[in-house]
């Protein structure tokens, strides 16, 4: 019954969009007010690996509020919960790489603050974003450590021509409120520009767990953010930019589990404080030389406490992290065929009394060899006090066979130094009871625990732990074809393969007298992710963009494959949980890493009919089933384990502009079919929103 209702909604939507298509044939020319597309020279746009760009207009048409909402609709990206790190651990996965390996940048500078490696993108508002660039694949040659699996560069609004202001009010399901106020103006005869914006966001969260009588699986929160930017042209050569961002998030989530007259309350409180500031001095010197000197500071602090209704504390996770960076960048345009960008810099990271210094230098050249062949070569050297030096090269080639067909090939390496946690952590999980020790704590902690009579067995592998952890390494390859059969229709097909070496994994080093394991970290397995990404974009009819994207993904751990091949316990067996029968396992039984869908598909229809000031979007996202957890105790994902079912989420939005573009009314529907799954705690059901935008500008 439900399905038929949904089907009707669909038919209606389809009909209305078809009606819209037929309308577009008789187009008038009326000026539409939209944000001017500006060309920004950014580092990520110079990456050898493929770059996806989401522009302001797309963001506005989608009506998304938070960054995670935008990202989850992109090809090859998934937002997944990390259940092992608590209900607030949620991160973005790119080409099968987990959030740990994806670097998040704001105007080219790294953002910090992760929960067990997961960067929760919902702490960033979309309101101030000019565009988003996504680099897929290892790109440490430009961005350094952490950019092992990819980079998301958030570019805030930079170019200001005229004074204007904007107020946005949105309200909808789950008491969601999104308020934005922003203003920008040139000053001093357009020598300077100033931009200020503020945003408030509230959500009641969303619950998809039917065992909860109260509370939410996607936690409720209030978020406040303030951003400001100033740019001043000192003279013809020199200009100064100052940018700052401050964001605060508070969240209280009280969950009540009720069953058979038992009610248990858990209270989870989070305070999060996030600050970024940058000062950039830019000099355009003679003959194509440009110099950029910058200082960047970011601070992130969080306190998170989980307690039961009996005021028992279950876990607390409090830390403050600082990150400083000085960088001197040089750009040189030698000719139309040849340009260079290079830089040197230093970072200092401080977290709860531990600090880590590192220095780096990079150089990249773009060379248009012939009309048909262009190349891009880059190299970066990073040096950290603790991990020593490392060189990361990257290379990209583009060859145009014909006007319609071009081929690309790219190669890059990435590396990631182990974080503080993996070195210094001493943690016992109060629920499961296991202990995790950072590698530098192993010797002393094990000795202390043995002295206290808490250890029943120390495994031989514990001796190997004392050796320093090696940084994780990735090598990425990408080959692609871009084909334009007719004007305004483009087909891209990319094959990618990422090899991860020295993958840091937990390993059991000892057993406590209470049977619980003690873990530490070791460079153990080699994983890989590989697949194909394909996309088609079309804009034949004026105002209408139809596009589709697909990703095929294989992500596996070679260590698991080897263990199965060698018959190592417990990988050597596979139990059919339906019959209870157990047999020997084969490598082909291994499906891959958890939480990764083999097939991901998205379809988007964006339509704008300028004469009426109407725009609408319709998006559908499909993900095939993905593994949730082991169910038959062999530590690898096979067909008898627990899976998140295949699903598809549908999004739609409609906007109408009034008063010569000053006023706009927008209605959005996220997850229109209200699809939820208990195994995806962070994915909310249907969210309907209505919004009002008022723009002030001179005609």
């Amino acid at each position: 019954m439900r399905t038929s209702k949904e089907l009707y909604t669909f038919v209606i939507l389809c009909c209305s969009s078809l009606y819209a298509f037929s309308q577009s044939d008789t187009s008038h020319t009326l000026r539409s007010v939209e944000v001017k597309a500006v060309h920004l020279e950014t580092l990520s746009s110079r990456a050898a690996m493929p770059v996806t760009v989401i522009n302001r207009k797309t963001l506005e048409m989608m009506g998304s509020r938070r960054l995670d909402e935008v990202m989850r609709e992109q090809t090859g990206i998934a937002i997944v919960n990390d259940v092992s790190a608590g209900s607030r651990a949620i991160g973005m996965q790119l080409q099968g790489f987990s959030s740990d390996y994806i670097l998040i940048l704001i105007d080219g500078q790294p953002m910090i603050g992760r929960n067990a490696g997961n960067f929760d993108l919902s702490r960033i508002t979309v309101s101030d974003i000019e565009r988003i660039e996504i680099v897929k694949g290892a790109s440490s040659s430009l961005f350094g450590s952490e950019a092992l699996g990819g980079v998301v560069n958030i570019i805030t609004r930079q170019h200001i021509d005229a004074a204007q202001g904007q107020a946005i009010v949105r309200y909808g399901s789950q008491q969601t409120q999104d308020l934005t106020l922003e203003g920008e103006t040139p000053f001093a005869d357009k020598r300077g520009t100033l931009n200020l914006s503020g945003n408030f966001y509230h959500t009641d969260g969303y619950n998809v767990n039917s065992f909860l009588s109260k509370g939410a699986t996607a936690p409720p929160y209030n978020s406040y953010s303030l951003q400001g930017r100033m740019r001043y042209q000192l003279n013809e050569q020199h200009s100064l930019h100052i940018a700052g961002r401050w964001a605060l998030r508070n969240s209280i989530n009280e969950s009540v589990y009720s069953s058979s007259q038992v009610a248990n309350t858990t209270r989870d409180v989070l305070h999060e404080n996030d600050m970024n500031a940058a000062v950039v001095w830019q000099a355009n010197l003679h003959k194509g030389w440009q110099l950029k000197s910058q200082y960047y500071l970011t601070r992130y602090s969080t306190t998170q406490d989980v307690s039961t209704g009996k005021s028992n504390q279950l876990s607390s996770n409090d830390f403050t992290q600082y990150y400083h960076r000085f960088e001197e960048q040089v750009q040189y345009v030698a000719s139309n065929q040849l340009s260079f960008a290079g830089g040197v810099g230093g970072n200092m990271e401080v977290m709860d009394g531990n600090d880590l210094k590192s220095e780096y230098a990079y150089l990249q050249g773009d060379w248009k060899v012939t009309e048909r062949l262009s190349s891009r070569l880059g190299v970066r050297y990073d040096h950290s006090d603790f991990y020593g030096g490392r060189l990361n090269p990257s290379a990209g080639l583009k060859f145009s066979l014909t006007e319609k067909l071009s081929l690309t090939a790219a190669f890059g390496t990435g590396y990631k130094t182990p974080d503080f946690q993996k070195r210094y952590q001493v943690f016992t999980n109060p629920q499961a009871g296991y202990t995790v020790l950072g590698v530098e704590e192993v010797a002393t902690q094990i000795a202390a625990m043995q002295a206290a009579g808490l250890i029943s067995e120390v495994r031989p592998v514990a001796k190997d732990i004392s050796a320093a952890l090696k940084p994780e390494m990735a090598v990425s390859y990408n080959v692609g074809i871009s084909y334009t059969p007719v004007q305004k229709i483009r087909i891209d097909v990319n094959g990618f393969y990422n090899q991860l070496h020295n993958f840091i994994n937990t390993v059991q080093i000892a057993t406590r007298t209470n049977f619980q394991p003690v873990y530490s970290y070791i460079n153990l397995d080699r994983s890989f992710t590989g697949g194909v990404e394909a996309g088609i974009t079309t804009h034949v009819i004026k105002g209408l963009d139809v596009s589709a994207g697909y990703q095929l993904l294989y992500a596996k751990d070679r260590g698991v494959m080897e263990a199965i091949r060698e018959g190592t316990y417990p990988y050597n067996k596979i139990r059919d949980n339906k019959t209870g029968d157990t047999r020997a396992s084969k490598v082909s039984d291994y499906i891959g890493l958890e939480n990764r869908s083999r097939h991901m598909l998205n379809l988007r229809v964006f339509y704008e009919y300028a004469p009426w000031g109407i725009s609408a979007t319709f998006r559908a996202n499909y993900k095939s089933r993905s593994g949730y957890d082991d169910a038959n105790n062999n530590r690898f994902l096979d067909t008898y384990d627990t899976f998140i079912d295949a699903y598809c989420l549908v999004y739609a939005s409609v906007e109408k502009k009034f008063c010569k573009g000053h006023l706009a009314v927008q209605v959005t529907a996220d997850n229109l079919m209200n699809y939820t799954d208990m195994l995806m705690p962070g994915q909310p059901g249907r969210i309907l929103m209505a919004g009002l935008k008022w723009r002030m500008f001179k005609q």
């Binding site: 298509f21 209900s87 058979s260 016992t428 379809l603 957890d629 105790n633 079912d645």
Partner: protein, 238 residues
């Protein structure tokens, strides 16, 4: 040219829309994937959410919560009585059949007076063996000799501390949660020497099909059992 492109394009458009509809039909809502199983068969006893020692903590430095070993509790199958009495007299009596011990009370012993365990030195005749089969398909208890040979003494973490220690749950290395093993049934002998079968179903409150929260309340036991009161080996249930 323009017309051909437009026509071709419109056709593509139709195909796209048909595709979206197909996708939408394919994605029906499935009520949170929660399938609540019915364990009642008319003759077996089903225990829901029997609270274990929910006040204990295994972690160091957890404020407000007592860091101490989990207090064991004892369960008499025929009377459905839970007891926290850990005196020697009680432990060595036949007033219990199952002892829920250790971490999360999930290490389950039978009451046996002549083997290592809480009932040692008492008069209990308890034994336990595992069968990888659905509960309803386990219809007879083996003879004495076979029972003695396969006796596990306890059922806890599967494959731990040794691979041959068959258990009823395991810890996932991925989520660090306890996961019960489906369609594994234990054939038991009670303290009094009667045969029966036991299915330990879950340690988490409400018996969820999968646990999605690290702080899901535990230990709350869901289990079912059938005891053949006539003393025979017949364990048939509907």
């Amino acid at each position: 040219m323009a017309i051909t492109i437009t026509n071709m394009y419109k056709r593509t458009q139709w195909q796209c829309l048909a595709f979206i509809v197909l996708l939408a039909v394919a994605c029906k809502k499935d009520d949170n994937n929660v399938t609540k199983l019915n364990y009642e068969d008319g003759v077996s006893t089903v225990i829901y959410d029997l609270a274990g020692d929910t006040e204990a903590s295994v972690a160091d430095g957890v404020e407000g919560k007592e860091k101490r070993p989990f207090r064991s509790f004892y369960f008499k199958l025929s009377t459905k009585l839970q007891s926290w009495d850990s005196s020697h007299t009680f432990k060595q009596s036949n007033n219990w059949d199952l002892a829920f011990t250790d971490i999360y009370n999930a290490l389950v012993y039978v009451n046996n007076g002549s083997a290592e365990g809480p009932g040692k030195g008492g008069s209990g005749k308890g034994m336990i063996i595992a069968v990888d089969s659905a509960y309803s398909k386990v219809t007879t208890a083996p003879d004495e000799a076979a029972f003695e040979k396969a006796n596990l003494r306890f059922a806890g973490w599967d494959g731990y501390p040794q691979p041959y220690n068959t258990g009823w749950y395991f810890y996932s290395l991925n989520t660090h949660l306890a996961i019960p093993i489906k369609n594994r049934t234990f054939i038991i002998r009670t303290a009094d020497g009667k045969y029966g079968k036991l299915e330990l179903i879950n340690v988490y409150q409400g018996n969820p099909p999968a646990v999605t929260d690290l702080f899901w309340p535990a230990p709350y036991f869901t289990f079912r059992y059938f005891i053949q009161e006539d003393g025979s080996h017949n364990l048939k249930t509907p």
